[in-house]
């Protein structure tokens, strides 16, 4: 965790995490690389049909993809699969992890099995699930929630186990029931770990969503990259990759950076 100390006065004023640009050195290197890439294609060092120039990717997105409804449907489908999987995993893993964290007995029943299942590469059971459920949104959401389950489960379980016993006593002294204990202690205490678990889960699930779209031809951005590459439409393939990268960055900046900033206000 970052050890940077923030003065309380400053913290109270800046409630919102500002939308930060990457630092200037990082930005400079990025611009140099993109310019080099552009020059290499404009000078004919690399054929644009294999590696499209950044300018043609940007113009393709702005001129063609933005007005293309089928492209937007693909974006939305990938996004829904991704977040649907995360949501199901969160709803399932959080209560189970809390039970495992609070009760030694439940932990010794559950955790060995969860550990073994978690160490299995999820792609391995993808064909089996497709056979069972049939190719479609359902199997995509299923496998992504399976994939997101483990990082969230282990993070939340660790968070619960790290709750100091004295804090539990405080809630007991003031006469809290089980609901109060959960609401006023377990949930806020595990929140930082939950954010970490979710961040890891997002990275995993993006990969699995794209993999299943490619594997079972499910309409989404992964599928678009697959078919356009096969049809030698490299501009569309690269535009899709660019949009995926943009979505990841936006999720990171708009969701996780803010959640982490709200935790950093109080975390030691």
């Amino acid at each position: 965790m970052a050890k940077e100390r923030i003065r309380p006065e400053a913290v109270i004023k800046s409630k919102k995490a500002p939308f930060k640009l990457p630092n200037s050195d990082g930005l400079a290197l990025f611009i140099i690389l993109v310019l080099g890439w552009e020059c290499a294609i404009q000078l004919g060092l690399m054929p644009g049909s294999i590696l499209p120039a950044p300018s043609s990717i940007i113009s393709d997105i702005l001129l063609n993809k933005l007005t293309d409804a089928s492209f937007w449907i693909r974006v939305v489908l990938s996004f829904v699969t991704l977040n649907g999987g995360i949501l199901f995993a969160l709803l399932l893993a959080t209560p189970l992890a809390m039970v495992a964290g609070l009760s030694k007995r439940a932990d010794s029943c559950m955790t060995p099995m969860v550990t073994i299942m978690g160490s299995l590469p999820d792609i391995a059971i993808l064909p089996i699930l497709v056979r069972w459920v049939g190719p479609g949104m359902a199997v995509a959401v299923l496998i992504s929630s399976l994939c997101a389950f483990f990082p969230i489960f282990f993070a939340v379980r660790e968070g619960v186990r790290e709750i100091p016993v004295e804090l539990v006593r405080v809630t007991e002294v003031f006469g809290s029931n089980r609901r109060d204990l959960l609401r006023s202690l377990v949930l806020p205490a595990t929140f930082p770990k939950m954010v970490t678990g979710l961040r890891v889960a997002y990275d995993f699930v993006w990969e699995i969503v794209l993999a299943i779209e490619i594997f079972s031809g499910l309409a989404g951005l992964g599928h678009l990259i697959d078919i356009s590459s096969k049809a030698c439409d490299m501009v569309t393939a690269f535009s899709s990759v660019f949009v995926i990268a943009l979505m990841s960055v936006l999720i990171d900046r708009l969701v996780f950076s803010r959640l982490e900033a709200s935790v950093r206000r109080w975390l030691d």
Partner: protein
């Protein structure tokens, strides 16, 4: 009221892998209403366990705790507690921490805010309402802990080594303030400490526990006028007599036994070398 808070033959045994360990054997004492009682004993004697049983946080293996004629079986709304490690919620601001007990007891929002602000002023933390615990010093954290305990209008305040994680200078100031708060409020205070001077400075009576499995070894009423000075002649005399008692307990403790057996071994080997 006499015999307001009573420990009636308290016994606590813990189960450990190879059997059972008796931490508290037979502890009996009684505390009057409005009294300031101090419990001292050698480290590891189970004084904190006794306090937790008084709070209803731990069930005695046998015996019972009586408060105002009623048996304490679970944490009651008339008791509150201050912890050695402060036990503040790091995600709550100072104000929200003080409001915590009131929140769980369903006090309306405006009322609990008002009460919490009042208490923060009382413990000298006005202006720190929106700080998070990590930005406070140990002494300030314990002031918050105290404010949180007092906010619920308790009839008994239990303090579990409240100043032992704080530097001695700050602890001295807090001790004095605690004494003033107690005088002003007139509620019953029970402090557990391993600091004998602290016990004598604050307590109307000092309850000395024996080493584990613990019993009450001695109850000493402290007749000194308040505020008490550590260099007062009578203070020193009381300290000396109680210290002798504690030292006996330390001499009997397992650690000391181990050390003395090592001494003995050394003596034996010395003798052998002389031969």
């Amino acid at each position: 009221m006499r015999d307001y808070l009573v420990a009636d033959h308290l016994c606590k045994a813990f189960y450990i892998p190879d059997g059972q360990k008796v931490a508290v054997k037979d502890v009996c004492f009684s505390i009057d209403e409005g009294e300031f009682a101090a419990i001292v004993g050698p480290s590891g004697c189970g004084k904190s366990t006794v306090l937790r049983m008084l709070a209803g946080l731990e069930k005695p293996s046998s015996g019972k705790v009586m408060l105002n004629g009623e048996e304490v079986t679970h944490p009651s709304s008339s008791l509150s507690m201050v912890f050695q490690s402060f036990a503040l919620f790091p995600w709550r601001t100072v104000l929200q921490n003080v409001e915590y007990g009131l929140e769980l007891r369903k006090v309306p929002r405006m009322e609990r805010r008002e009460r919490a602000l009042q208490l923060l002023e009382y413990v000298g933390l006005k202006g720190y309402e929106s700080y998070y615990p990590r930005d406070l010093s140990g002494g300030m954290k314990q002031r918050v802990g105290l404010a949180r305990a007092l906010a619920v209008d308790p009839e008994v305040v239990l303090l579990d080594e409240p100043f032992s994680a704080i530097d001695e200078f700050t602890a001295g100031i807090l001790r004095f303030e605690l004494h003033q708060i107690w005088r002003k409020m007139g509620t019953t205070f029970v402090i557990v400490t391993h600091n004998l001077s602290e016990a004598i400075e604050l307590g109307d009576k000092v309850i000395v526990l024996s080493q584990a499995p613990s019993e009450v070894k001695h109850v000493k009423h402290i007749p000194l006028k308040r505020p008490r000075r550590h260099d007062d002649e009578e203070f020193v005399a009381i300290h000396k007599s109680l210290f002798e008692l504690l030292k006996e307990e330390l001499n009997a403790s397992a650690l000391r036994r181990e050390l003395s057996s090592m001494d003995e071994l050394r003596r034996l080997t010395d003798i052998e070398q002389v031969r």
